[in-house]
């Protein structure tokens, strides 16, 4: 008899996830109909290549992919603003990008996001093209202290209540009505139960819900278009294995709640509260990854790391504030059968000895400015290395520069498996011939 999911070991769960990816279904739950036997073979070969890389084994060759920022949009001759407002055109740009460059796996077109949705909710956390930045710029975060220094106890006691009644109304103008809502945990028994629902009768709360319905409909419209392209690309042999997204607890608090300066102040002025809050949101960050993997059916959970990079904080600060809860999230995701895909933005050279301390063969690390030879030496037996063709070279260099760089990577980081060739950071601008050189050269030279 087949083992139940809960009874499986992390190894068995990972195997089951890959088996699921190797037997893809269409939205109705039937076996996916590929457009050709070649497409089916390419799809399965790509999944197997990724599986081998994650498990630190040599495959038929080094897998290659491209995980861009706005590049597909600019490559299609569009402005980021157009991509955020015309979903069909955005989807077509991502499709063209995949079909032109033919990476082994692709990462979908959800990055630009639905512009109208952000307008409906009056999103204040970001400036986006036409709303605070030029139509040809991407969106950029507007850092601030959206959580005040004295609000840690609120966050620690009930993160969901804090988010709903305090944080969300601060970053979405249209969610102001949330500030009037009572905690759901007060809804207990007949006596007094109706009192909890009074806010829903008040115009500000009703307006907030109207905006939510409208925003939800817009998000659905957008994802239907983007999902459609993913489905089509799958039938053509290009799997998207991205299952969702979560963050290191330190970045969750430091990026959008307290802000960079705010969290730094807390490291000195109230370190115990900060540590308690990091602990409190750790299970939530794990749940966020596991939940989205369940919804999408894909096991790879993307985690962009920000404030733990070389030079940002000391080793001691990293080991005290950043790593323990990040490690707990990574382990929690692995325990739940997911594959954490961690983008170590900036350099992670000084952190390699520390990050070694995680289960072997269960994670992918996208390295940006980390020395790949050193990384292979120190963490090559633990995690799958991804990277790290520089954004600068993709934009300014020549195809020969790219080939030389890729050759070095394949010969060193790629040795014996456990390596994925790709860009090291999310890029918007590049010469098409350079992107093409990265993919084609790896397919040609990267055989094991």
């Amino acid at each position: 008899m087949e083992k139940k999911w809960e009874e499986m070991s992390p190894d068995e769960k990972q195997e089951a996830q890959f088996q699921k990816l190797l037997t893809p279904k269409d939205p109705e739950g039937n076996d996916l109909q590929f457009q050709s036997p070649e497409a089916e073979a390419a799809y399965k070969a790509s999944i197997n290549r990724f599986k081998d890389a994650v498990q630190l084994k040599a495959s038929d060759r080094v897998p290659v992919t491209v995980f861009p920022g706005w590049y597909p949009i600019l490559y299609a001759g569009m402005k980021p603003q157009e991509a955020m407002y015309d979903y069909e055109k955005c989807a077509a740009a991502f499709k063209k990008f995949v079909l032109d460059f033919k990476p082994d796996v692709q990462w979908g077109g959800v990055m630009p996001g639905p512009g109208k949705f952000f307008e409906i909710l009056d999103y204040k956390l970001y400036a986006w093209p036409g709303h605070g930045v030029d139509p040809d710029s991407g969106y950029q975060c507007l850092e601030d202290e959206y959580m005040q220094p004295h609000e840690y106890d609120l966050l620690i006691t009930d993160p969901s209540f804090f988010f709903r009644n305090f944080y969300l109304p601060r970053v979405f103008g249209a969610l102001e009505g949330f500030t009037m809502m009572a905690p759901f945990t007060g809804i207990l028994e007949m006596y007094g139960v109706a009192i909890n629902f009074i806010p829903f009768g008040l115009p500000p709360v009703q307006n907030t819900f109207k905006a939510l319905f409208e925003a939800g409909a817009e998000a659905l419209k957008w994802i239907t278009v983007m999902g459609g392209v993913d489905g089509e690309l799958a039938t053509l042999g290009f799997p998207n294995i991205l299952g969702g997204f979560t963050k290191a607890p330190f970045d969750t608090i430091g990026d959008t709640l307290r802000g960079t300066k705010g969290i730094i102040m807390d490291m000195y002025r109230q370190p115990d509260k900060l540590l308690q809050a990091l602990q409190a949101i750790t299970p939530i960050m794990i749940g966020m990854g596991l939940g989205s993997a369940q919804q999408t059916g894909n096991p790879v959970i993307f985690m962009p790391l920000h404030k733990g990079a070389d030079g940002f904080m000391s080793d001691e600060q990293f080991k005290t504030f950043y790593w323990p809860t990040l490690k707990a999230v990574i382990e929690g995701l692995i325990e739940g059968g997911c594959i954490p895909f961690i983008a170590a933005e900036g350099g992670y050279n000084s952190r390699l000895e520390v990050i070694r301390d995680i289960p072997k063969g269960k994670t992918i690390w996208m390295f940006d400015q980390t020395d790949m030879v050193k990384a292979k030496e120190i963490v090559g037996d633990t995690l799958c290395l991804w990277g790290n063709v520089p954004s600068t070279m993709l934009k300014i260099g020549t195809p020969q520069d790219i080939k030389d760089y890729a050759k070095k990577l394949i010969d060193t980081a790629g040795k014996g498996g456990g390596f994925i060739m790709a860009n090291g950071a999310f890029f918007d601008h590049a010469k098409p011939e350079n992107v093409k050189a990265m993919v084609d050269f790896t397919k040609e030279y990267g055989g094991y």
């Binding site: 040809d136 710029s137 991407g138 102040m265 000195y268 030079g311 000391s314 918007d428 601008h429």
Partner: protein, 211 residues
């Protein structure tokens, strides 16, 4: 006595440093002497950052302590101009057109400031003309361009070109910096140098005009 304030500030002892300032002011110590001590403390912080004993959190926190010390001292200064220290040179800094990232730029501004430079911070998403105008108006001989996005490479190049077109290229040294900036971007933009971090920016500026 003021040696103690230098130590408290450079060791990032916030409550102790503030209490020291309160007590000193109550005892009638010259606020100017306290400000000098605080500046010396910041100098030590800068040196520790350059030596990689301190990192970004330490730097930013020290700036916050300094701000609170200055707030305490300010009401005691009769002549505001008296608080301005001698400056070794003038540097124009800004995040280039299309890019609104400011954390790296602010660190460079901070380090240049504690190292004795007068910094003209043009902010973020700075149009090329604004850099050109600032050079003309301030007579500054150093320009720092910051940017995080790949789009910034073009904006940096456009800014350097505009400075050239305005006939000002020979009057200024241009340094660039930001997450992805390297030698290749330096050549592409036509800047004179690039720096990996705020310490590198200070070294470049000192090399160009001494300080």
């Amino acid at each position: 006595m003021s040696g103690e304030l230098e130590k408290l500030l450079s060791d990032l002892k916030e409550p102790e440093a503030l209490e020291f300032v309160d007590n000193a002011l109550a005892e009638g110590v010259d606020p100017m002497a306290l400000l000098d001590a605080a500046r010396e403390g910041m100098n030590i912080v800068g040196q520790r950052f350059a030596a990689e004993d301190y990192f970004i959190p330490d730097l930013i926190f020290s700036g916050e302590i300094l701000k609170r010390i200055v707030e305490k001292l300010e009401p005691h200064f009769t002549d505001k101009k008296g608080t301005k220290a001698e400056r070794v040179g003038k540097v124009i800094i800004g995040t280039v057109k299309g890019d609104i990232h400011d954390i790296g730029k602010d660190l460079v501004v901070f380090m240049l400031d504690v190292s004795g430079f007068e910094v003209l911070d043009l902010g973020i998403d700075v149009p090329v003309e604004k850099f050109v105008d600032a050079i003309k108006e301030s007579g500054s001989t150093i320009v720092g361009l910051s940017g995080f996005l790949t789009l910034a490479f073009d904006s940096m190049k456009n800014t350097v070109d505009a400075i050239k077109d305005a006939g000002l290229r020979d009057q200024v040294k241009i340094m660039i910096g930001g997450g992805q900036i390297d030698e290749e971007v330096k050549s592409f933009t036509g800047a004179d140098a690039y720096g990996r971090d705020a310490v590198a920016a200070v070294k470049l500026a000192q090399g160009w005009i001494g300080g």
